[in-house]
Symmetry: C2
Subunit: 335 residues, 2 copies
DNA sequence: AATCGCAGTCGAAGCGATTCGACAAGATCA
DNA sequence: TGATCTTGTCGAATCGCTTCGACTGCGATT
């Protein structure tokens, strides 16, 4: 394996000059830089990551902790991960993948061994056991989602409360007076996951403000549950004309269930989802929706982390404003 | 940060002794080992990953290259990734995530910088541009999927040919005489992806062998395409009574489309899928299926890699035998 | 004219582990 | 009873890079 001394010799300079040419931390004359770059290419030199990390105390690796449990939509996680990796690469960093199940020990391990410079943690609970650790860790971190007490932490996510509100507003403007929220599975609420609660609050608050009748219904992520939910909603709330769905796997089954029950969507019943745009677009009837912008969250999370690594100031909270796209499942009340 | 010399001093031994106690590469008396372990706990020592990598030329990190494009079912990738991470951790390794789009340069980079010790590459094409590179790389690798020319490489995957055959056999044993394969999107075939072709071959060969009439139909991964496909199959092959589906997103829509067209499943038409068990189980009507065992493939891939890192022999090809589970969508022909 | 500052480079000292050779002391063998 | 192993430990070299301080010229400043 060719090393920096080989390059130095080949270019007729000292190793430190090669290093400075590479890092740009000290001025190097155009001429020698050229020679060095030529030598690097010719010899096929690649700096040894471990040596670099040891000498500079920077590994240029980010940790990404992904969740893997019920009620979390897999494609969202995946898309997020891909966007984190892509953005990290643009900043000359790599990404180490950790699973939730490694827990606090895993975080401590990769931080204390200096395997990673910084961490991105997904699926943060309202009172997450990892928060104290993240606060004391000497490495910067960014959380996806908001815990109950976020002071001293950097958090980013879609503004789920506003998203819930935006759905209600959209329905209200179309004249709907009675709306329901079909939410995440009960387990998600029991876990005290922030985004589920925030949607609920935003939904309810907006409905109250505009004087709409509203109800909230957690729902398992299965077609059968969707069918049961549709039946129940029609039975218990016959005056219902607007439904907000925040539960990806159920969006389609729910719409189909309503149709089977004789309701036309959107003529008799409007449906707005909170879900990734792709899911909403690809449905047989494209679904009006507030986008869950996982790719953007991933990109922004990495950029926040990079700023923190550069010791620049970052906002503690970043809430992405909801973006509602009207498609074919919402219509004015009464057709 | 506490380092090995601190531990050594605290325990009254030399740094090398601490190192040997940790690695077990030389015998250490029970007594000193105890003292060292106590010191480590007390001081909270964690070996510096970079220093370790530099000195030992082992980073204890694996690279995982994941695909991200049309026709690849996201949950399968995700589950695979999680099982790779979990298994790697059991072997004291971490996992660096790379995306396909980094391509050969990405592989070369992480290998040449000694950032990773070994690589796992998913979604291998029949003639994959990365193969020559992987062959010459000094680091071991395992491929998920089989290229056209696999000599000198270590590959593992479900035996897709046998899986296609198993589906046909199952249908044949139920008395079906005319079967169709609804496959991956055309793009997957055009990309020359091994598994798609292998399913086709296995399917066709088994049908021929048993004297069944068979046809093969690539299909886009959308409900609309499923509907069109169902209509077309009924029109062009009215005698059809058995369908094999190898296209996850389409399994459910296709069954629904058949039912809308007046066919009872399984009474009039049997359907077998090649898909993850969870998907087959969770359907409204549980689907008879050959499992795509992504978690097992991930585990086995890591174990192969570990053996290679230990310079042990491994088989060049590992084909996992298909496992067919009969559920509620297959029945004897004629009800 | 003396001084300062900056561009450009070098040499050497780490960074924090692993590993090799050496060595002492006791066990084993002929 | 030596010779030979094995066990348990130490010291020093080494891994390949970054970074700090120092040095040389040279143009700009006073």
């Amino acid at each position: 394996m060719v090393k920096i001394t080989d390059v130095a010799r080949h270019a007729g300079v000292s190793p430190s000059t090669v290093s400075y040419a590479l890092s740009g931390k000290r001025p190097i004359s155009e001429d020698t830089r050229q020679r060095i770059e030529a030598s690097i290419r010719e010899l096929g030199y690649r700096p040894h990551a471990g040596a670099r990390a040891l000498a500079s105390s920077r590994s240029n690796v980010l940790a990404l902790v992904i969740p893997f449990r019920t009620g979390i939509h897999v494609p969202v996680v995946m898309q997020f991960a891909v966007s984190v990796v892509t953005t990290a690469r643009q900043h000359d960093h790599d990404v180490l993948l950790l699973t939730q199940e490694e827990g606090e020990d895993g975080l401590r391990r990769v931080a204390d061994t200096a395997l990673v410079d910084a961490l991105i943690v997904m699926d943060v609970q309202l009172r997450d056991a990892r928060l104290p650790l993240l606060r004391t860790l000497d490495r910067p971190s960014v959380l996806i989602g908001f815990p109950a007490e976020a002071a001293g932490l950097t958090c980013i996510d879609l503004d789920f409360a506003a998203a819930g509100g935006a759905c209600v507003t959209h329905l209200a403007e179309l004249g709907h007076r009675c709306v329901a929220l079909v939410g995440s599975p009960p387990a998600v609420y029991l876990r005290q996951t922030g985004f589920a609660q925030r949607v609920t609050h935003g939904f309810t608050a907006a409905a109250d403000e505009r004087g709409l009748t509203s109800t909230v219904h957690p729902c398992e992520a299965t077609p059968a549950a969707a069918q049961a939910m549709a039946e129940r909603l029609l039975r218990e709330h016959p005056e219902l004309t607007g439904v907000v769905v925040h539960n990806e796997p159920v969006v389609q089954p729910l719409i189909e269930a309503f149709r089977r029950l004789g309701l036309r969507v959107p003529e008799d019943l409007s449906v707005v989802a909170i879900c990734p745009d792709e899911l909403a677009e690809q449905a047989p009837t494209p679904v009006s929706s507030v986008a869950v912008p996982s790719a953007e969250v991933g990109t922004r999370a990495v950029e926040l982390l990079m700023r923190k690594l550069d010791r620049l100031d970052v906002p503690e909270a970043t809430l992405l404003p909801p973006r509602l796209t009207r498609r074919a499942t919402t219509a004015p009340r009464g057709g």
